[in-house]
Symmetry: C2
């Protein structure tokens, strides 16, 4: 066994393996270990005495001792009276099966459509992204700074699963007044965002095979959470008054969970009528279903008076209310919340305690501070004006350049419009062509459950305007016109 | 309709409902809304003209107009030629079913044992908590401060699901050299901690009903994640050489997932032998199972040379390696990571992209900075000495005060010891009595799958020493002696 050859070969290797920065003694250990594993040094071989090997390799004897000790600790060599002997180390390699990576995915996850490639890039008309460059970062930095300075060892451990009391109080106060939600802080659970709330609801309130109603078209990530929890999805159509289930749906496809966006349907933008709201509450009550109200962007209402949440219509509403700071603050914050009915609060906390571990006290305290100091309300007020302007400018530009091919709807609130294509081209084709021209234009058909009637019925786009400056709207809309014309010309 | 009576009654109510801080116009709206919903103002009622009502209540007319407009927007009243008329608003209240909160929980979540009450309090012998008061908070604040200052609008949006490149590079470098993990940054996914990694694995790599092997006794939260994902748990015994499956287990209870803690079994503390490691890799390969290696506290090794991770034994190991910063940094950070095999990286990223949304760039950049600047390694080195000392002091105190009733094991690494009770008293009884005396002493039987053989076999405790000062160990151990004596006397 020529150790020098072994070692020099290994040194070349080590660079490739990203071990160049490790110590010499560590590299010697790793070299011997891999030679033993690969069978280059066979079972029963006696290694050179540490002093001899050190001399041969020109190393300190301690380095060799280190390597031998590690090998012995891990079971690769045995320290015997005759010296250091290689142990029986055999890794039988069975035939590597052909690499079919897709087959490694569970069936439940394989049924989830992957998020479309390149369609989450920060480009004009991306949905769900607020005006990041308008966020008062300096104020947020100061709140974070204060929270970090207040941080003591006591806040570094695991925290109560429901989140920081100060933040829950601030959220409950805001929701009561601004969203008409009936709640106090004991019903509020801080989450890592809406999807973590959906995951918790899907697993806690439903079993595999239970029926979940989803809006069709609707929010893909709600579908994803439910599929990953093995729920049976039932797509329910949406019209101008919101979710429109039939008596047959209630009787034959009785839901356990109902996912809705009543304040601003995602993606169509319709507002659920009072009649539908009341009927949904009644029927959910009668059939023991839970309504998940995702109030993702209702802070921004551009036409008419504010709209209250469905949750607040009655005290015993079977509603889990989901909110997020992703739109009003910024997505990277990853803080959302859920408001659960009083009767469910203990169960939900228990489930969360078993399934989630919590911390991030500084961020939560900074956010509570940001809200209590009034920065939140001020920012919200500024953004309401900004988004109303952006919407108006977009709607105007669409009217001037595209009214012959697009019918726009859903602009009463939020950060996006939806637009139906009135000509006979597929939205997916236009969407791909637009992406090549630097526009992210999600196809409306992509929000529908694959294979459902809706998928054939909806042909159009969702246009997010939250992150598009008003002064640039015109040029992007003109480009969209060009894209559509090119697609039509073929 | 006496609006003044209505309103004064509501004002009393509003204080209770946490609406006292809202504006007068908002309170008027909320009052009318609730009167309509409750039937106190009936369908078809014509509301007073805004000017008249304003005079009657001594309010500005604009306040009344605001209230009427909101009610109209939400559908509670109709603006007709004759004035503002109450719409048909009926919420039929079905019989409220008897409140059986537990029945609201899904069966899958109901099977998860709730975390024991009061056993997560920051008291002596709590497990899983590092020395929080030794964490270099000032340095961490500086890293966070720098990261916050570097934060621009571009970092406020959603981020790539795998996490920040700089942090993934730092982690891969650390793992290659310190843990013998074979990986580069492309295989690293940042998580919100170990349980979020477990959730992702359980849903992505297994379907409902698939078999998951768990160590028995073992980590309750791994059980929780698997149960919530509807996996079938098969408890596998653990001995001094780690997980000990039989040929029958492989043949008749072939696993899809295998959860192990080979470096320092949780809670017993044993180290998996090389022979077992190689055999597990071979068999997992042959049967298409995935090994989840949870390397939760292996940074701390008090006896002998460091131990490499199982993942690094071969290039094509079917291992998902989970790591966390909760022990080496602090739990509230909520940053962990997984290292997935090259062949699985795309699938896992795809699944994560559908199920998780990411952000928290500042924290990730601060952590990368903390590692790159060497703070991480320095802190680790200090903590290794500190924990080794705490362990030695605890072991010594246990030896002097409790050697007649306890047999200690598992002290080669980590932040906890396990101790077998050699007398005929139930660990749960001692645990409860100890909790009353301010000691958190998790019963060993509580780590076993309920109803399994192990639950009857293991009687003892897990003693976390990470957060207990060496100078106080003696007094806590003496107290434990008193508690045990009291329980024995009955």
């Amino acid at each position: 066994m020529d150790y020098r050859v072994l070692l020099s070969g290994f040194e070349r290797d080590a660079a490739h393996r990203g071990l160049a920065r490790s110590s010499q003694q560590h590299r010697l250990y790793a070299c011997l270990r891999s030679a033993i594993l690969d069978g280059k040094i066979e079972e029963g071989t006696r290694l050179l005495a540490s002093r001899t090997l050190a001399e041969e390799l020109g190393m300190a004897r301690n380095s060799v001792l280190y390597a031998y000790e590690r090998l012995a600790t891990e079971g690769f060599v045995l320290s015997q009276r005759q010296g250091t002997v290689v142990a029986r180390v055999r890794l039988e390699r069975t035939e590597v099966r052909p690499s079919d990576e897709a087959s490694e995915l569970s069936r439940r996850v394989a049924t989830i459509d992957p998020p479309p490639e390149g369609m989450n890039d920060l480009l004009p008309f991306l949905t769900g992204t607020p005006a990041l460059d308008e966020f008062p970062l300096a104020q947020w930095r100061r709140c974070m700074d204060r929270a970090m300075r207040d941080l003591g060892p006591g806040q570094l451990g695991y925290m109560p699963v429901e989140g920081a009391e100060a933040l829950r109080q601030a959220i409950a106060g805001y929701l009561r007044i601004s969203r008409g939600v009936r709640c106090d802080a004991s019903q509020v659970l801080i989450t890592d965002g809406t999807q973590s709330g959906l995951d918790l609801c899907a697993r806690t309130l439903a079993d595999a095979g239970d029926t979940a109603w989803i809006e069709n078209p609707g929010y893909n990530r709600a579908r994803g959470s439910f599929l990953a929890a093995d729920l049976k999805l039932v797509p329910i159509p949406v019209d101008a008054d919101g979710l429109a289930p039939t008596a047959t749906d209630w009787a034959d496809r009785t839901p356990r969970l109902i996912y809705i966006t009543p304040s601003h349907q995602y993606p169509l933008g319709s507002v659920m009528s009072l009649e539908r709201r009341l009927s949904l509450l009644e029927q959910a009550h009668a059939s023991g279903a839970w309504i998940i109200e995702d109030d993702y962007d209702s802070e921004f209402r551009h036409q008419g008076a504010p709209l209250s949440a469905l949750q607040g219509l009655t005290d015993d509403a079977r509603v889990i209310y989901l909110g997020t700071f992703s739109k009003v603050m910024f997505p990277a914050l990853r803080i959302g919340f859920m408001v659960v009915p009083v009767a469910l609060a203990r169960s939900m906390r228990r489930s969360a305690a078993a399934l989630l571990l919590r911390g991030r006290v500084a961020e939560q305290m900074a956010l509570a501070d940001f809200i209590d100091a009034g920065h939140f309300t001020r920012h919200l007020r500024r953004m309401r004006r900004l988004y109303a302007e952006r919407r108006a400018v977009l709607q105007d530009a669409l009217e001037r350049h595209l009214s012959d091919v697009l019918t726009v709807s859903g602009g009463a609130g939020g950060l996006h419009l939806s637009a139906r294509l009135d000509i006979d081209v597929a939205d997916t084709v236009v969407s791909l062509a637009a992406r090549k021209r630097g526009l992210v234009l999600r196809a409306l058909s992509g929000f529908c459950l694959p294979g459902s009637d809706a998928a054939a019925h909806y042909n159009g786009f969702v246009l997010g305007y939250g992150a598009v400056q008003a002064s640039e709207m015109e040029v992007h809309v003109r480009r969209l016109r060009e894209v559509i014309d090119e697609v039509v010309r073929g």
